[in-house]
């Protein structure tokens, strides 16, 4: 007689697909991940891009060089100013314009403010992604101060379009220095509060530590950059490696924050410490902004000489490369943006496997995607 035996190997669960996104609160935009799940364990991740693809690179081929800058606001909208700066720098490099020192300092201060604003927003959303809803409101309270500073000077809160080839659009608002100086001690005071609210929490530490480990080699081979790569111990800060703007013209003392663990907590800590470093940078510049004009002389219609130009800057998300091919006409022949988010998304495919859905959400949050930056 046949006896019924049950081996654990017979008890197989069935894998199934789950569409995470394009409309999903954790994907921070319209990113679609096709997950293969076994229960709640993620077996495979397949990102499906293009839901917010606006052909920015192609549009650039039909616009003049001054107009391109306005398109770059819409890529990584949280580092809008740094994107603008990258294009402006590329054009200045091609035209061999020497911009006034004041412009360099203004751009750097604005860039660092943008970086802080971006990291603040990331911190708020990070908390929400792991279930601590209150962080969002605290982060937005402080981010609002930066937005107000931006609004006063360039009239825009998010898409600044402040840099132009050869300079900046307007001079600083008279209140600028005072408000920035008020903001610096304020943020220094609230960041320890942030740590009390979220960083030090046992549950948060347990959720972050040892989760989503990206090795040093993985970070390099996936082309990860910015805080993501620095969390894995890769030194890749463009502000240090090939300095631009005031980083090149001034002797600015700041540390490149790197952690070697490569897990969620390391990436989290990199951003938290980077905010303080950005404050240091601003503090070194804010008191001596030179007064030598806000615009170098440029022609009304900019034509780049024939050739290829590359400018890399450090946005809040990492290494943004602007690559312009010019055939000497008034619009570029080809523009390519090397966006940090796209490479960091590559890394997610590798490090997200084998984790639970909840961890995948946390990992995505520490990778800090801005989907329009991935799609462009």
């Amino acid at each position: 007689m046949e006896t019924l035996t049950l081996n654990s190997s017979d008890l197989k669960s069935q894998e199934y697909f789950l569409n995470m996104g394009p409309q999903h609160p954790a994907t921070h935009g319209v990113l679609r991940l096709i997950l293969t799940l076994d229960g709640e364990v993620v077996k495979n991740i397949e990102p499906d891009l293009g839901y917010i693809h606006r052909s920015i690179e192609k549009q650039c081929e039909y616009e003049g060089y001054k107009q391109i800058i306005h398109l770059t606001d819409r890529m990584d909208y949280l580092s809008a100013h740094i994107n603008n700066e990258a294009v402006a720098l590329a054009i200045e490099q091609a035209l061999e314009i020497e911009v006034p020192e004041r412009v360099k300092v203004i751009r750097t201060i604005m860039g660092e403010l943008t970086r802080i604003a971006s990291h603040l927003l990331w911190w708020g959303v990070m908390g929400m992604d792991v279930g601590a809803l209150t962080t969002f409101m605290y982060a937005f309270r402080d981010r609002e101060m930066i937005n107000d500073i931006m609004e006063e000077t360039c009239g825009a809160r998010l898409t600044m379009s402040y840099s132009t080839p050869g300079g900046v659009m307007f001079d600083l608002h008279p209140n600028f220095q005072k408000r920035v100086k008020d903001f610096i001690p304020h943020l220094r005071r609230v960041i320890p509060q942030y740590d009390e609210l979220l960083t030090g929490n046992v549950i948060f530490q347990k959720r972050m530590k040892g989760v989503g480990i990206m090795s040093h080699e993985d970070a390099i081979s996936h082309g990860a950059s910015g805080p993501v790569a620095r969390g894995s111990g890769v030194s890749c800060d463009r502000r240090k490696k090939d300095p631009y703007s005031a980083f090149a013209s001034r002797d600015i003392q700041f540390n490149e924050i790197t952690f070697t663990e490569g897990d969620n907590l390391a990436r989290y800590n990199v951003r938290m410490k980077e905010m303080l470093e950005s404050l240091n940078i601003i503090e070194q510049l804010i008191d001596n902004i030179p007064d030598d004009g806000i615009q170098a002389k440029t022609k009304a219609l900019i034509k780049l000489p024939k050739g290829e130009y590359l400018q890399r800057v450090e946005t809040a998300r990492g290494d943004l490369g602007v690559y312009i091919v010019s055939d000497g006409k008034k619009n570029p022949y080809r523009v390519k943006f090397r966006s940090p988010g796209f490479s960091n998304l590559n890394a997610l495919i590798e490090i997200g496997k084998g984790h639970l859905i909840a961890d995948l959400v946390a990992i995505m949050s520490t990778l800090d995607f801005v989907v329009p930056d991935i799609d462009r």
Binding site: L18, H24, G131, F136
Partner: protein, 358 residues
Amino acid sequence: MILTNTTNYFGQLVNYLSEQMGIGGQILAYVLVAAIYLSFFAVAGLLLVYVERRVAAFFQLRLGPNRVGPHGLLQTIADALKLLSKEIFGTNRKDNLLYKTAYYLVIIASLVSLSVIPFSRGIQAFDINVGVFFISAVSSVGVLGILFGGWGSNNKYSLIGGMRSGLQMISYELSSGLAIITMVLLAGTLQMSGIIEAQRDTWFIIKGHIPALIALFIFVVAGTAESNRTPFDLPEGEAELGAGYHSEYSGMGFAYFFLAEFINMFIISAVGVTLFFGGWLAPFHLTDSLPWQPLWGAFWFFMKVAVFIFFMMWFRWTFPRLRIDQLLTLEWKYLLPIGLVNIILMAVLVYYNILISF
């Protein structure tokens, strides 16, 4: 069962009406009691939603609802009216029977649990001799509703949410049950009114000292988990699953889930207050000599419950969410063994009478 307790006002109502009008009066009395409970359910649910929103707002540097009515008190009523008027639609190819029964199960479970809660001396629909046991038995039915909702919605996010919820609530039921038994050892009865009477001189949290404190801790953790609130809100963890098991519900279907969640929070707080903090008894016999005893009882009961609820809200707006494996580890590796040892400790203390009493 209603008739067993003569000091019970609901029992007196039933007796009076049935004497006056016979069987018709008895039915009328039941309907009246049910109507009182239903309206309490609705009002308490709406009020708790309002309080939660206000408390959340103050935690989050916001103002919260403050436009509709005085201090925004009517906001939740307006929301409920909106939900009432909305169309109920679900997914295609849903399991209609499960989908539709789900919210009734959830709401019936919390409504029935409410009936044994002692609001004050004599204000309690059923004062049955297994009151605490009855609550933990009935509240488990609510899990079924959530599982039905998760399964019946034909949505994978709902399914994951439902399964998480099943895992979580069944696991934590054990711990909360153990914590309840620990306190029942002190009272020697499962009857809610009996438990409160036993605390007339000393509240159990003081009488049972160390094991009672441990039991309180376990009860609060398990209770928060059972009511699906942060840090245990995995079934609906919105960053992960959208809205979890009730993703596919709209209109009143959603509102039932939502209200039941808040009433469950109230029930857990009420049980906690009854077991640990003397229910409707006044602290230090403050109001014992005053007239209107049942009203004073209700006053103290709701004050204590409010504090309990505030703590649960505090957790919600400051803690991040646990992961499912951490949640189960916490229950099976920590809370459950501690709870078991705690029962033995309490039993020993009760046997040798090493208790604090005044």
